[in-house]
Symmetry: C2
Subunit: 187 residues, 2 copies
């Protein structure tokens, strides 16, 4: 049986806690003191623990929220007038996500050799679905090569985030990759 829906004040608290957790994890890393999160959300620790039993649950909720935002952003970009620009706008957002949320993923999956948990597998599938739709649309208008593989593009973009380059440099590196995706440069 599904849990009953949250009352509106509980929902508001949950949203505040998630927003505070995102901020605090961004600033201090995923090992930041949880008290600071409750303090910034303006709730007591007891309220925080009622919503999120521990650090892992909080970190996973922040991550899930971010994946949902990214996928919603992708969906909105499917309506943007320039399909090629829409694809790379999304890839820049994805790159920022990887650069800033990478540490969060270690809460669930501390072993880099591990293929990843079921949760991460589902999230990765969602992101692959999003980029595939954006690539397909860009291909339809000839903005990128017909044989461009969406997962290749996602992997190279993650790789750029992994270099730790600052965001300006990272976007410059993504432009280098973008040049290789054009349909005009032949076989």
């Amino acid at each position: 049986m599904a849990p009953p829906p949250l009352r509106s004040d509980a929902l508001r608290n949950r949203q505040r806690l998630l927003a505070a957790a995102r901020e605090v994890f961004d600033e201090q890393g995923v090992t930041a003191p949880l008290d600071e999160i409750a303090r910034r959300a303006g709730t007591g620790n007891a309220t925080m623990y009622r919503h999120f039993a521990n650090r892992r649950e909080l970190a996973l909720a922040v991550y899930a929220d971010e994946v949902t935002s990214l996928c919603d952003h992708g969906l909105a970009l499917l309506e943007a007038p320039d399909a090629g620009e829409a694809l790379f706008t999304w890839l820049r957002a994805f790159m920022r996500h990887v650069a800033t949320k990478r540490e969060l993923a270690t809460v669930e999956n501390p072993d880099p050799g591990d293929a990843g948990s079921e949760l991460f597998a589902r999230w990765h599938a969602q992101m692959r679905g999003t980029v595939a739709a954006l690539v397909e649309r860009a291909q339809q208008v000839g903005a990128v090569r017909p044989d461009l593989d969406a997962v290749d593009l996602l992997l190279v973009t993650s790789g750029i985030a992994f270099t730790g380059a600052d965001s300006g440099r990272a976007e410059h590196l993504l432009d280098l990759v973008r040049r290789g995706t054009g349909h005009q440069d032949g076989g």
Copy 2:
């Protein structure tokens, strides 16, 4: 005063220890038992510790050796007939180096936020010098764009190695980047 040159049997032992250390670190990671390295080199532990006082010295020697090989390989490739192919042959070797030797670097520089030790700074400068020479030669024959930045190329290549893609997939991703480097694809 420089240390006296090693006698030929001492030199041979050093080379054997380095080759064994490379093998064992590749197979078992940089925390592998040092005894196994001495055993595989066919020397006693005492001989090993005479050459390399500790794990850090051994790991740094393996890394230094690898950087020297990479730079020598680059120098040889400056004589290869196809300057564009030579550049990407070297980048593939560099990518393998990053993928397999990344963990070794943590012995010297355990903090990923740290800009790196003096040793690593020198090694990175050597690799930047090597790729710059290969890019310049490829530019001279028009194999890559005149405004292609060698360090950008090195960074994106490291990023691909950081994704943990297997070597076939990683080479495929490097090909995607290569498409963006051609002089034929305009501004």
